[in-house]
């Protein structure tokens, strides 16, 4: 802060005339507007707002004015300088935006380029379909039970009410295992061990391991002596369900099947039971589901044939029934107090008709071109 200026300079006061200040401001604004680039603008900035610029010099003159003129001149010069600075900032922003736009255009890429650096993998559809079925039942309160694939005949047959030498054992096309210990006399001796022909031994193990009520679902690999062809495989995936509780009925079995079919294929489908024979259930039934493709219409309308169900209107799913009380007895479950139902079906077949797969071998052979489209979930 300097002391008040007492020595006025009447000659230089010309520069602080309002017209002069206006002129200086207009020149500055014109130069700013005319600046074509950021470099030019920088020069304009120095010329019109720098220490040697006319407005800066004019500002310096204010001190030489008589006190009465100081306020007005100060205000006039300040406004002019403010206007210039504002215009400068605006132009600066404008030019920077122009420059950025230009540079970003130059930096543009082709975002449609492919990027298969590490292509995605996939889970096997048998796995994901089995998971999906498990999840339907886990949500209802069932637990997933598992067991060995090489199994004692007692679990695979005896406990399931397949009497020894009963023709029903031959329905199963069993792989028999050679005696494991010291098995030199090979296939003549009976080992009492087989490759499980169904996951039903897991049902037995579940009943033996748990106190009723028992609600389990038993997925897993099973074995039958079928040669691999378009519709058969010696190793296949199965899902079985077992419910043991007080007062369970065939109506509960039917309702549970209906629920599963609707969860998998759509809410308006229904199931059908047909009498059948299995040693481990009594009564026994084959279970069919209404065809999800034609909704049964192809069976009554010859003009609309259906490939999915061969125009039968129904698709065969598997076997089911009320657990034979003899099976309960073998597992230590009191058949006078408890009853139960069970069903089972093959996942390959389900996969085949759900996804219109013509040849079983495509599922088995592990060709990545088959599996990849199924992705992570089914």
């Amino acid at each position: 802060m300097s002391a008040p200026n007492k020595s006025y300079d009447p000659v230089e006061v010309e520069a602080l005339k309002p017209e002069e200040i206006e002129r200086m401001r207009d020149e500055a604004l014109a130069a700013i507007a005319a600046a074509a680039g950021l470099d030019e603008l920088r020069e304009v900035k120095v010329a019109h707002t720098g220490d040697r610029s006319p407005l800066a010099l004019a500002n310096r003159e204010i001190g030489a004015l008589p006190p009465h003129a100081k306020a007005e001149a100060g205000k006039r010069v300040g406004q002019a300088r403010g206007g210039v600075n504002k215009a400068l900032a605006a132009r600066q922003a404008e030019l920077e935006a122009e420059r950025d736009a230009r540079v970003l255009v130059e930096e543009a890429v082709d975002v449609t380029l492919p990027y298969d650096r590490v292509p995605a993998g996939a889970r096997h559809p048998l796995t994901t379909l089995s998971d999906r079925i498990e999840d339907i039942f886990v949500a209802m309160g069932y637990e997933v039970a598992e067991g060995p694939e090489i199994e004692a005949e007692w679990f695979n047959f005896d406990a399931l009410n397949f009497p020894p030498d009963h023709p029903a054992r031959e329905m199963q096309d069993t792989f028999f295992v050679q005696p494991l210990a010291g098995g030199s006399d090979g296939d003549s001796a009976e080992s009492g061990v087989v490759l499980r022909t169904h996951t039903s031994p897991v049902q037995i193990r579940s009943m033996i391991d748990r106190e009723p009520p028992v609600y389990v679902i038993c997925p897993g690999r099973v074995y039958r002596t079928d040669e691999l062809d378009a519709t058969h495989t010696p190793v296949f995936a199965q899902v079985e369900l077992l419910a043991i509780d007080e007062g369970l009925t065939m109506a509960d079995l039917k309702g549970t099947l209906d629920h599963m079919v609707r969860a998998l294929f759509g809410s308006d489908l229904t199931t059908r039971l047909r009498p059948a024979y299995f040693p481990f259930t009594e009564p026994s039934a084959e279970m069919d589901m209404q065809c999800f493709a034609c909704r049964g219409e192809s069976a009554v309308n010859p003009d609309r044939p259906c490939r999915t169900c061969s125009s039968e209107g129904w698709i065969e799913l598997g076997g089911c029934g009320m657990v034979n009380p003899r099976v309960l007895t073998a597992c230590g479950v009191d058949p006078r107090k408890y009853s139960g139902f069970a069903f089972g079906f093959g996942i390959e077949r389900l996969l085949m008709f759900r996804h219109n797969i013509a040849d079983m071998r495509d599922i088995i052979e592990g060709d990545v071109r088959f599996t990849l489209p199924f992705g992570m979930e089914i």
Binding site: D116, P164, F175, T329
Partner: protein, 841 residues
């Protein structure tokens, strides 16, 4: 069981317009698996008539003998003139009655008949063979009819060519449906109409002068009926109707006596056997065979008998395998005419056997001798013991009727006393099984329909019919009621479940593992777990490698692959190669599944009863009989792991990816793998890692990973550097620890130090890293190997490992001295542990 509809109608008065498909639907609904309905004679239109061969002219000069015939077809051709027909068959003579199809007719298979020129003549029709008429193809040449049929008779009706045949897959519990009688009964119930039971015959009571029979094993044979018919005309042939019924039911007509026994078996479900009486020496006996006894059965095979085999004997020894197959030496003899004397020799006197044999004995014998017959199929499912006398009567009646014999008055019946079987059930038992209300009246009515006698009100006492040995338990009776009331009428309800526990930890881990591997580019496969020694040889396993100890199958599909896998790699590598063969090259596969690892010391499982729960010890004994079946996960990869592209170069799949796949799996279990250099088939001895995890404070081997041995790659025709990993998921899961302790995140600045250490090339990086970590102490936040250099600057046999070390304290900014001290300590520890020298020092 094949059921001709025309035959079925003989026992049930079906509505006139009812088709085979209608009957099929009804029977399926009540529980018979009617698989197909065959339309016999579909599309067949006449004229098809009986013709009498008048002349035969042999045509010469053709590749095969050709006959030009004239045939009397009555007035069927509209003129009454002999019909001129060219025929290539030779099994007929002038005067024979044949089947002639005339122009204008259509044979099955849309075969239209017209007059046509052939072999230089015009053939006005055709003399037909059985195959051409859709009657079965077991006859050579054309059909020669019995002489009594008039020329011009309509042969479509005569041969019953148009019919429908239901083919029923009879389940093991429904043996009675292996007969017309049984299926007729089911049909009658399904339609609610009455059955005329073919077993309801007048049968003379047994007496003392029938053919002598001695049953030495009343358990194996609780009923034996013998009848004798004498004076049969050995030249008598089965009439057309009988032959046709056999053919439609799927059996081949053979001779009258055999045809009649087969016919009665089809009709009543009771297998029969006819012996040539002149060939049977003394009383017929039933007993178990003596070990080593021999019998030549009707199929010409000589069989060595087992002590369990139930046999039929006479004074000469064994003459039949009871219930399975008769012996050749008592076989009914075909008529043979002696050309010089004109005398006809053949069987004239037969003994008819109708017996009831114990199902298990028959089943075991049939299996032991790999000899399944129509008889054994029925006996092992259980026949109706009370039908033997009716069946013998029916057989005698037919023989008398068709071969002019006389039934002798002697009737032998050996019967072991047995009480009728009864089952008690609450009258509402079927209701409680079904979950719906039928009511007592319905229950009683349905049970009576299937042949039961029912007494009682709230508690029913049910006597089951003799032909239903399968009805033994209350639920069997419930099923009869429910199926006849219709499964389709069951309500649909849901049980109320207790809350579940969801997936187990190991089930969750398996799903996560699959998702994680698929997420980093692996494709899941599921291989068949069969393999043979060749697979182990290809992997280069030593002779004593424990993986060669396998579970072997008695009846493998292929003799090349009789064993169960002990490792996932053979299947995985075969699938890798299959994909390569089909043109895919950049491959990353994974599989999760069980392998089977016997110790060879597994004891045989105990034979346990089923009338109670086994004890825990008994269950343990069963489990001890099974091999270990650990769950494994494995990967195999070849080609590019990272593709080349506009972004730059790709990278080849390598041992490092295989090991990383192991880490990926372990990470899902919250387990950090320890990687050690190892040598293990089938891996490259210098590029193989043992994968370990810490379980209960101990390091446990969980698997191996690396590049495959070049010899293995060559043996399996795989690309170079194919790499693989296999680890035991169960073990990884065991290494899984509890909740992760959260790290404390310091907000003070980080201090970084890079060090380059020169070591012998053989020093594992993991050891250097471990020493650096230990030496650096608590201030070390992280450490990363960012470069490896080998070359002149570090010298032969050496390598330079460059590490970036980041230091940070929880409570202060580190000083330069503190950082340097920590770094020096780290280097010193590495030097001490591995001989590493600071590069440039």
């Amino acid at each position: 069981m094949r059921i001709p509809l025309s035959w079925l109608r003989e026992y049930v008065d079906l509505p006139a317009g009812e088709t085979g498909r209608d009957v099929q639907a009804k029977l399926i609904s009540s529980g018979l698996e009617v698989e197909t309905v065959e339309q016999l004679g579909a599309g067949l239109t006449g004229p098809l008539v009986v013709g009498k061969v008048l002349t035969i002219e042999e045509l010469e000069g053709f590749k095969k003998p050709i006959r030009f015939c004239t045939v009397d077809v009555g007035t069927a051709n509209g003129t009454g003139e002999p019909q001129e027909i060219v025929c290539g068959a030779r099994n007929f003579a002038v005067g024979d009655k044949v089947v002639v199809v005339l122009p204008g007719a259509t044979l099955p298979g849309d075969f239209k008949i017209a007059a046509r020129k052939t072999y230089g003549r015009t053939s006005h029709g055709m003399i037909c063979s059985a195959a051409e008429l859709g009657m079965g193809d077991d006859h050579d040449g054309i059909i020669v009819l019995p002489p009594e049929h008039e020329a011009g008779t309509d042969a479509i009706a005569l041969l019953e060519l148009v019919d429908e045949v239901l083919d029923i897959a009879v389940t093991p519990d429904r043996g009675y449906c292996l007969s017309m009688r049984g299926v007729a009964r089911e049909t009658a119930i399904a339609y609610g109409i009455s059955l005329s039971d073919p077993a309801l015959l007048d049968v003379p009571p047994p007496n003392a002068f029938g053919y002598p029979v001695q049953v030495g094993d009343p358990f194996g044979c609780d009923r034996f009926t013998a009848r004798t018919v004498v004076g049969l005309d050995p030249e008598a042939r089965s009439p057309i109707w009988l032959q046709r019924r056999l053919q439609k039911a799927g059996m081949r007509p053979i001779s009258l006596a055999v045809d009649v026994t087969n016919y009665v078996m089809l009709e009543l479900g009771q297998p029969l056997h006819a012996y040539d009486r002149t060939q049977v020496d003394g009383p017929i006996g039933v007993r178990r065979a003596q070990p080593g006894e021999k019998l030549t059965t009707l199929d010409g095979a000589q069989r060595v008998l087992d002590a369990e085999d139930l046999v039929i004997t006479d004074n000469s020894g064994v003459i039949g395998l009871a219930g399975v197959m008769g012996g050749a030496n008592t076989e009914i003899a075909d008529a043979v005419r002696d050309e010089t004397t004109g005398e006809v020799r053949g069987t004239t006197d037969v003994v008819i056997e109708a017996a009831h044999f114990e199902p298990v004995a028959i089943s075991r014998t049939a299996r032991r001798h790999k000899l399944s017959s129509e008889a054994s199929k029925r006996f092992e499912r259980g026949t109706d013991p009370q039908t033997t006398s009716a069946a013998a009567q029916r057989t005698a009646d037919l023989l008398v009727l068709l071969a002019g014999g006389t039934a002798e008055a002697g009737v032998t019946e050996i019967i072991s006393p047995s009480a009728p079987r009864t089952i008690s059930i609450p009258a509402d038992h079927p209701d409680r099984v079904a979950g719906t209300e039928y009511g007592r009246e319905t229950v009683v009515r349905r049970l009576q329909q299937v042949g039961c006698d029912v007494y009682g009100s709230d508690e029913l006492v049910v006597t089951v019919p003799s032909w239903r040995p399968d009805l033994t338990d209350p639920n069997d009776l419930a099923e009869e009621v429910i199926r006849l009331e219709g499964y389709e009428n069951l309500p649909s309800t849901l049980p109320k479940l207790p809350s579940g526990r969801g997936l187990t930890g190991s089930q969750q881990l398996r799903r996560r593992t699959g998702r994680a591997l698929a997420g980093v580019g692996y494709v899941e496969v599921q291989n068949t777990p069969f393999l043979g020694e060749a697979a182990f040889d290809q992997l280069g396993l030593e002779a004593d490698d424990p993986r060669r100890r396998t579970v072997k199958l008695v009846n493998p599909l292929s003799d090349e692959e009789p064993a169960m896998r002990t490792t996932l790699l053979p299947g995985l590598l075969a699938t890798l190669r299959r994909n390569i063969g089909r043109g895919s090259h950049d491959l990353a596969l994974f599989e999760t599944g069980l392998v089977f690892r016997p110790t060879g010391a597994e004891p045989a499982p105990p034979r346990l009863p089923v009338d109670r729960r086994p004890t825990d010890e008994e269950i343990a004994a069963l489990n001890a009989a099974l091999p270990e079946q650990p769950r494994r996960v494995a990967v195999a990869l070849s080609g590019a792991r990272e593709q080349a592209g506009w972004w730059g170069k790709g990278t080849a799949a390598s041992w490092a990816d295989a090991i990383e796949a192991g880490r990926t799996v372990a990470r899902e279990a919250g387990v950090e793998l320890i990687v050690r250099q190892d040598q293990h088939a089938p891996f490259h001895p210098g590029r193989c890692a043992a994968l370990l995890a810490v379980v209960d404070g101990e390091e446990l081997l969980v698997g191996h990973a690396g590049e495959l041995h070049p010899r293995v790659v060559k043996a399996l025709h795989l690309p170079d550097q194919t790499s693989a990993m296999e680890l035991d998921l169960d073990r990884v899961e065991r290494a899984s620890s509890g909740p992760v302790p959260a790290p404390r995140v310091s907000t003070f600045p980080v201090a970084t130090q890079d060090v380059a250490l020169i070591t012998d090339a053989s020093v594992p990086a993991a050891e250097v890293e471990a020493a650096l970590r230990t030496g650096a102490g608590e201030l070390l936040e992280s450490l990363r190997l960012f470069d490896i250099y080998t070359g002149e600057q570090v010298g032969e046999g050496k390598k330079s490992l460059a590490y970036a070390l980041r230091f940070r304290a929880a409570d202060r900014t580190l000083t330069a001295e503190e950082t340097t001290t920590a770094r020096d300590a780290a280097v010193a520890a590495a030097t001490a542990a591995t001989g590493a020298v600071l590069r440039g020092a």
